[in-house]
């Protein structure tokens, strides 16, 4: 998605242009919905998160600044934080299906067509982050992926990959530190 195009749509949205907002929705809702769906593993709640996120985007479009990153990243953060909030407050989680994602022992998902359990990550872009994350240890990468894509807490990652809490925290912390070093080189 072209950032200049999204920026012009967001600017018009900030001025109350509903047509621009609708175009912005058409351009980004599929990606944002997929992110929320992957985290929540629940179509109704993912739609709720998407709805809340776009209402927030409508109201806060004028708060966007270039220093906050590209437009899509700013929008992704809004839908991710809303999804984390739903996870935190409603405690809706399909633990068994999460285990299935990694063990790949059960393909009888309720929503097979969604294909939301797959954590076999293949990046579409060639950002520096992708290079850097490929350099992490496999455990560090796995723990960071589970937290980012599934919205898992430290304790949930522990349950998922069956390693001690201290080890998981250390993987994530060291993985992030290594990412930071790599990204600032």
């Amino acid at each position: 998605m072209d950032n200049d195009h999204l920026l012009s749509l967001l600017s018009a949205t900030a001025q109350g242009n509903k047509k621009a907002f609708a175009t912005l929705y058409e351009a980004t809702s599929g990606k944002l919905f997929a992110i929320s769906l992957k985290m929540l593993n629940n179509r109704a709640q993912a739609e709720e998160a998407l709805q809340d996120a776009f209402v927030k985007i409508w109201h806060n479009a004028s708060d966007y600044q270039v220093s906050k990153g590209v437009v899509l990243s700013w929008m992704i953060s809004i839908v991710r934080y809303r999804s984390l909030d739903i996870i935190r407050h409603n405690k809706v989680r399909k633990e068994q299906s999460l285990i299935d994602d990694y063990d790949a022992v059960d393909s009888s998902s309720e929503d097979e067509d969604l294909n939301i359990g797959e954590l076999d990550v293949s990046y579409e872009d060639d950002s520096k982050l992708v290079d850097c994350i490929e350099q992490l240890d496999q455990q560090q990468r796995q723990a960071i992926h589970l937290a980012y894509y599934k919205g898992l807490t430290h304790h949930e990652v522990v349950d998922h990959i069956r390693s001690p809490l201290g080890t998981v925290k250390s993987w994530i912390r060291r993985g992030l530190q290594q990412l930071q070093r790599c990204l600032t080189l």
């Binding site: 509903k18 929705y25 809702s29 599929g30 990606k31 919905f33 997929a34 992110i35 769906l37 992957k38 993912a46 739609e47 998407l50 709805q51 209402v55 927030k56 409508w58 109201h59 806060n60 708060d63 906050k68 990153g69 590209v70 899509l72 990243s73 992704i76 953060s77 809004i78 991710r80 934080y81 809303r82 984390l84 909030d85 935190r88 407050h89 969604l114 990550v121 293949s122 990046y123 579409e124 872009d125 950002s127 982050l129 992708v130 994350i133 960071i144 992926h145 937290a147 980012y148 894509y149 919205g151 898992l152 807490t153 994530i172 912390r173 992030l176 530190q177 990412l179 930071q180 990204l183």
Partner: protein
């Protein structure tokens, strides 16, 4: 905890964005972002980095009804604003009553009980010489901002359409600055302005459509140049408080 430590801030921001910073630690960091440029910038930097991970996720089309609901919510907000501007003139009380949702007897009883409790709480926490405009209080949500000496500065009474804010005699009046009220929503980093606070007397603020007790993590007051925040974010946070639901 030393919040001037750049490395510490970077790691907290990274875990905030990743989502592994949870519970009270997440709430603390959300509050820190209100006052710390370092924390805000670190968070934006990690958002830019980590959100590249989303490139691996293939788009999934949401149902058409999602957009319809979004449109409805936005249009409703526009209508709600129009209603407020009309009722604020005190000339359209009939119309105001028409748009109010019908209350059940149970709700009315609860509302009455809440009003009594509300007035009682207000009387306890408010030690101003000036009597409160008690007849104005109809809600079950309140917030009181106090200074370091625990003297009350503002009382915020949440009503259906408005926030009624009363300034206390304890408030230090600044002619060169304004005070601005903010809400911080749970799980969201950007504070939302609710308007400028009175420096004396009572002021009615339009209630933001997202002002819902269950969604609010914190309320805050910032010191701003005259006219309010020039950036859309709080300039200097002075006080924070919780919303009290009775």
């Amino acid at each position: 905890m030393n919040y001037n430590n750049q490395k510490l801030i970077d790691m907290l921001a990274a875990e905030f964005v990743l989502g592994t910073l949870r519970g009270l630690a997440r709430d603390r960091f959300t509050r820190l972002m209100l006052t710390s440029t370092m924390a805000r910038e670190a968070t934006w930097k990690w958002e830019q980095h980590l959100n590249n991970l989303a490139s691996s996720i293939e788009a999934v089309a949401p149902d058409q009804q999602v957009w319809e609901k979004i449109s409805q919510r936005i249009d409703n907000n526009v209508v709600a604003l129009n209603i407020q501007s009309r009722t604020s003139n005190d000339e359209n009380n009939t119309f105001k009553e028409e748009v109010k949702k019908p209350k059940s007897r149970l709700l009315q009883a609860w509302s009455l009980a809440a009003t009594v409790a509300c007035i009682a709480l207000a009387a306890i926490v408010w030690q101003s010489k000036t009597p409160l405009p008690i007849s104005n209080f109809e809600s079950s949500q309140l917030a009181v901002f106090k200074n370091e000496a625990k003297a009350p500065l503002w009382l915020v009474d949440v009503q259906d359409q408005n926030l009624i804010v009363k300034a206390s005699a304890s408030l230090e009046t600044r002619t060169d600055k304004d005070y601005e009220l903010w809400m911080i929503l749970k799980g969201q980093d950007a504070p939302v302005s609710l308007g400028l606070l009175p420096k004396d007397g009572v002021k009615t603020l339009v209630r933001n459509s997202r002002f819902k007790a269950e969604d609010i993590a914190l309320l805050a007051v910032s010191l701003e140049p005259l006219g309010g925040s020039p950036t859309g974010s709080p300039t200097e946070v002075l006080y924070t408080t919780d919303l009290v639901v009775l």
